[in-house]
Symmetry: C2
């Protein structure tokens, strides 16, 4: 509604659950050219699209882009809901970046939009005021009463990230944490990662058990020692470990130790 | 978007700032029949409107309905953002009631919608998912990640209201608190209430000083003793005392004592 600017189509990359949700939503307002697959060199844009939308990290599938994909001359629009503030990125490459807060940025309640100034304006007449970037810029993001407590906590999180060494350090920790787990999974013949190595997420690590009959036992026993929320999304099955900025290395270590013990017990 | 059901018009009562905001928003989606004035017996509906919208309490003007207005056979839709949870009301009289939380219901972050079941469905195709009541009902209000902390605190507020004696008690306190201030203003020749007696708000009490040159002095001196946020909205001028459920009687007493002292000093 904000970005079409009279055009009638937009390009949407489909890499999973959140990609699909975004492109289905867009279909209410324009024709959607669905770009399949993660290899951006193969995306078939027509050039008539108002922008190219993709999701940087798919929480359910455990898929993440590790470099900015080819834009094919289109304005890049990126959903960074689940990995913003987990690594540095060149914001000048984007027309618009958006993210909810409740992964790395603080508690639920905020939505962050970073948008190139020249793209603000000329919204569709049906755009609700609460979705209208002109109005939000004009009112300095306080057209409505903002969720003050969430804003405040996100501010504290940003200060904490700076104190800890900034985004490079967050990225270093995320990779270190995730790679421990991926290395363990790859070395095991009891667990498997379903994600191609070059697109494995630093934030969300799905894995499956060799013996899927043991899924519930795995969940029960892990929960009993405080390793919780490990059940994979029903659309994927298996397990998923989500490890955002707030997760210490010890969390990954504890999970790996449990997985090793479970494997030993079951093998 | 949710309520038009193929109709092309809606009726909107105009009693002030929030009424105007609502009817301007509605004009994006339908023709708006603006109903002027607070006397509902005089509202000229055509009968072709999908619903009749009004704002129960206007925070800026200090206007409040003290009974449910005539609906003229239309479905009643009511914005109770600033007075929900401050008194009992017959919910069966309404097609839809909505409110934000940050007045009587807790901190900012929640929006409450109470809607008659048969009105859910058949939304306009352009309805964003985040505004679509079918989706929110289907997902039990958790289509998105809800603002958990605000939900939790609103729950505590509801428990507190019950413990204190419920909505009848909240209403009794609100009237007692507000009437003290109205009585003082009416007895004074230094302060004036701009609102017709039968529509005076229990929540927001605007008043003006006889000598408007003293507005800033009034604000400075009141703030100095901890009576804050008394400046009226710029569209109305003067002063405004907002007294929601959380305001104790002592708050009204302190304001009245200050106003008396200021009047004595200036007269």
């Amino acid at each position: 509604m904000n970005l079409l600017k009279g055009k009638t189509a937009a390009a949407y990359v489909d890499t999973g659950h959140w990609s699909k949700a975004a492109l289905e939503e867009a279909r209410k307002y324009c024709d959607v050219n669905v770009l399949e697959g993660a290899d951006s060199s193969k995306w078939a844009v027509t050039g008539n699209e108002a922008y190219l939308h993709y999701v940087d990290n798919e929480t359910i599938g455990g898929f993440e882009f590790h470099s900015i994909p080819e834009s094919h001359g289109l304005d890049l629009v990126c959903d960074m809901s689940s990995n913003l503030l987990s690594r540095p990125f060149d914001v000048s490459k984007f027309a618009l970046v958006y993210a909810c807060a409740q992964k790395n940025l603080g508690p639920v309640g905020n939505t962050i939009v970073i948008v190139r100034s020249d793209l603000i304006g000329d919204e569709m007449p049906i755009t609700p005021s609460m979705c209208n970037y002109s109005i939000f810029r004009g009112k300095q993001s306080m057209y409505n009463t903002p969720v003050t407590y969430s804003w405040y906590l996100s501010g504290l999180i940003c200060e904490w990230v700076k104190e800890e060494g900034g985004l490079l350090e967050m990225d270093r920790r995320a990779k270190h944490r995730a790679n421990k787990l991926y290395d363990f999974i790859d070395a095991s013949d009891y667990y498997t990662s379903p994600v191609e190595i070059q697109f494995r997420s630093r934030m969300n690590i799905p894995f499956t058990l060799k013996n899927t009959d043991k899924n519930q036992l795995f969940l029960d026993e892990s929960a009993a020692i405080g390793l919780i929320n490990l059940k994979g999304h029903r659309s994927v099955g298996g397990m998923r470990a989500s490890m955002y900025n707030a997760m210490p290395d010890a969390g990954a270590d504890a999970l790996i130790a449990f997985m090793q013990a479970f494997q030993d017990q079951q093998s």
